[in-house]
Symmetry: C2
Subunit: 432 residues, 2 copies
């Protein structure tokens, strides 16, 4: 890890240090994805099967995973992991259920009632990556809020073969339609629909560069689908003072580093002693990890920033805008009022990132790559939309009408004014 | 207006009728906007002044509107319009203030506390179009939630000359930084910053094809800025039964039609008699409008759909997903449970669209072009972001740790598991 002393850097250098590396913007990925989407739109399931042959590990003829297959997967799975998944579901469910919003109703002036209401997004698509490990946690994080929101149709796509853990979690979260298809072709199928895969309104979930590019392309087409949020490599920033346990901090940095070689890992500390101790711990812990090559690569590009006090540490974090922010200080909750622009904040020594990744109740789908300045962490609200309702009584239009007429006049919009004038005249005449 | 009898159409014809016309996707606009953004990023204020000379009606050297200019604008303005704007502000403020969200705090299991919190987006940019009429209402709709959310920096750009109404409304809504610059160059300036215009994190507001394209381009660049929502032509759908007042309905259809020749206007009714009566009213009212040429053009492309009952009418509206939905039926509130995918709903004969456009309290920034299936109407939430916080006690990690270990193991992520295992061991040994 490269160590920097914050106050010795110029403002330009400081800005530079906290700028994320540019992502590869490979035109070849864009073109291939465009071709894949075009094929799926033109030829539906036939194209999906061809693309699966070309790109997937275990292509299959029958795209939909049957109830019998899920029965078999659930029967194969041990009780230990089933119990753990069910316990995680219970926590995630409790936290997301508490996010239900009540109707906001305000009578802004006599007879003028305004309401803010929510409705579920009708049809949602969930993408669960396959790859090196099965990710039942992604199923839970994406499917639980969909069920709580009341989305009418929930479609899940995951590369073939779908692992037993994924099929168990999907059933436990109430997902009825699972398709064993992955990659850009799965995103295209959910955005536009095929003979077997229903079209959805919004697509959620992480994925590789092809999946991310496909989500971008379908979201820019109004005939396609909305998406959850823009994506980038996963990242953590840890703020630690001299009171922190170096072994704990090292283990948290490594949790992030093992995600992938492009993971961003940043330690901001007021304690040079702690930084040294963490460095030793990292070496010792790294050697015991199965994914040590990946983690070592991520650590190679990571940063230790030494700063003067915790106010400065908070400012650095706010500028960087991390996906995960871990606070290991003597009084972590005291910093909460100074912290902005983080996806999820983990307070104190007993709160490693991995509890939020899996089971505490919070969602692990979080904005990366600096998008935490404007994007929210995924929650129930992302599966709903807000809309307004207004209703005026005769008294309401009598009071509000003249105000509307004057502004419409100022804006030169006669018909807007006339819609009010006609009604006021009708009321004067005692008509309805 | 073209009249269709719904049940005589095939499902394919029905889908076709409710599909919006394709928007011109002119590469020339994209290229020019790209060039403008590049110039502003490279040469800042100098480029802004050059571009203003090239594209704007009243280019000026001093981009920022001074306090003295605003003083003068406010002094020129009549009390009537000032009072009307202030009354509208009061209603809009009341409705948006009621949208403040409380912290959600759940102890999901003993010692595991999860919180959902909100923070203001730090820096926001508001774009207020100039064009044929000054739009003080746009200032109110964009600036009031920014102030209520507590955004630290609020920047407003509007083409030069900024009208007195716009300057008055900006001051009344607490906007301190107003710049008299419009078009794609204004969007570029707010997205990237120049010497005089601060960079913002998110840009709000409507605009012409160049502004819309610029918002799209800067939102796809992670160095740029997020945007409020995708844009399309304004639109209304009216559901009316035989009890509706044809003059009122006609005035509402014309309010929408006068916005622009590409405005979408749809009437869905169970009553052929009403449709006939409205047709007569449209002719009579149209003749008296100053913007009759624009309105006539929009009406020419508009639709009357005759259907069998109000359930069918609701289904048609849900499929179309209108920006504005006006319900003029005998018991309009009874339909609320059946209506989805509308930006804002106007209930009953005393609730014309223009009350929501200006002064009832709801926001007039609404999803168009079918985006109401997934996008919300603008509100306080769009000026904030949600993030989560979690804090575990020693008891919390003791209870949750084994669950996390098991799922991490299933996902093959050793370091995630180890971050928990280390802590559980430390607790066993009585260490902290």
């Amino acid at each position: 890890m490269q160590t920097l002393i914050w106050k010795t850097l110029s403002p330009a250098q400081q800005a530079d240090v906290l700028t994320r590396p540019a992502l590869g913007d490979e035109a070849s990925i864009g073109n291939l994805v465009k071709e894949i989407i075009g094929a799926v739109r033109a030829r539906g399931d036939e194209a999906l099967r061809e693309l699966a042959q070309r790109f997937e590990r275990a292509p299959r003829e029958q795209l939909r995973v049957s109830e019998a297959e899920t029965d078999a997967a659930c029967a194969r799975l041990g009780d230990d992991i089933k119990d753990a998944i069910n316990a995680a579901i219970s926590n995630i469910n409790a936290f997301h259920a508490a996010q239900v919003q009540q109707i906001v109703r305000v009578e802004t002036q006599p007879g003028v009632v305004c309401e803010l209401r929510t409705q579920p997004i009708s049809r949602v698509g969930l993408y669960v990556p396959g790859g090196s490990a099965p990710l039942p946690s992604t199923v839970m994080m994406l499917a639980i809020p969909a069920r709580l929101a009341g989305c009418r149709e929930v479609v899940l796509c995951t590369p073939s073969p779908a692992s037993d853990e994924i099929l168990f979690a999907a059933r436990a979260c109430g997902v009825k339609q699972v398709f064993a298809i992955g990659g850009a072709q799965a995103i295209a199928a959910m955005a536009y629909g095929t003979e077997s895969i229903p079209k959805v309104d919004k697509i959620f979930g992480p994925g590789n560069a092809y999946v991310t590019e496909a989500k971008g392309q379908v979201s820019r087409d109004w005939r396609g689908a909305a998406i959850d949020m823009p994506a980038g490599p996963s990242e953590v920033l840890v703020i630690a003072d001299d009171s922190a346990n170096p072994a704990f901090v090292a283990s948290d940095l490594l949790s992030q580093a093992e995600h992938g070689p492009d993971s961003q890992v940043v330690l901001v500390t007021t304690s040079p002693r702690l930084a040294d101790a963490i460095s030793g711990e990292l070496k010792a812990q790294l050697a015991r990890l199965s994914r040590r090559d990946i983690a070592a690569k991520a650590l190679g590009a990571s940063l230790v920033i030494l700063c003067d006090d915790l106010d400065e540490a908070c400012a650095i974090s706010n500028t960087y805008a991390p996906e995960h922010l871990i606070v290991q200080t003597e009084a972590p909750r005291d910093l909460l009022g100074k912290l902005e622009n983080a996806g999820s904040i983990f307070l104190g020594q007993w709160t490693p990132e991995s509890v939020g990744d899996y089971a505490s109740g919070t969602n692990h789908t979080l904005p990366t790559y600096g998008y935490a300045r404007t994007c929210s962490s995924l929650g129930l609200a992302d599966y709903q939309r807000r809309y307004t309702v207004q209703e005026l009584s005769a008294e309401g239009i009598k009071g509000l009408g003249p105000i509307v007429e004057r502004i419409a006049e100022a804006e030169g919009l006669d018909a807007h004014k006339n819609a009010v004038t006609l009604r006021l005249k009708a009321l004067q005449k005692g008509q309805s």
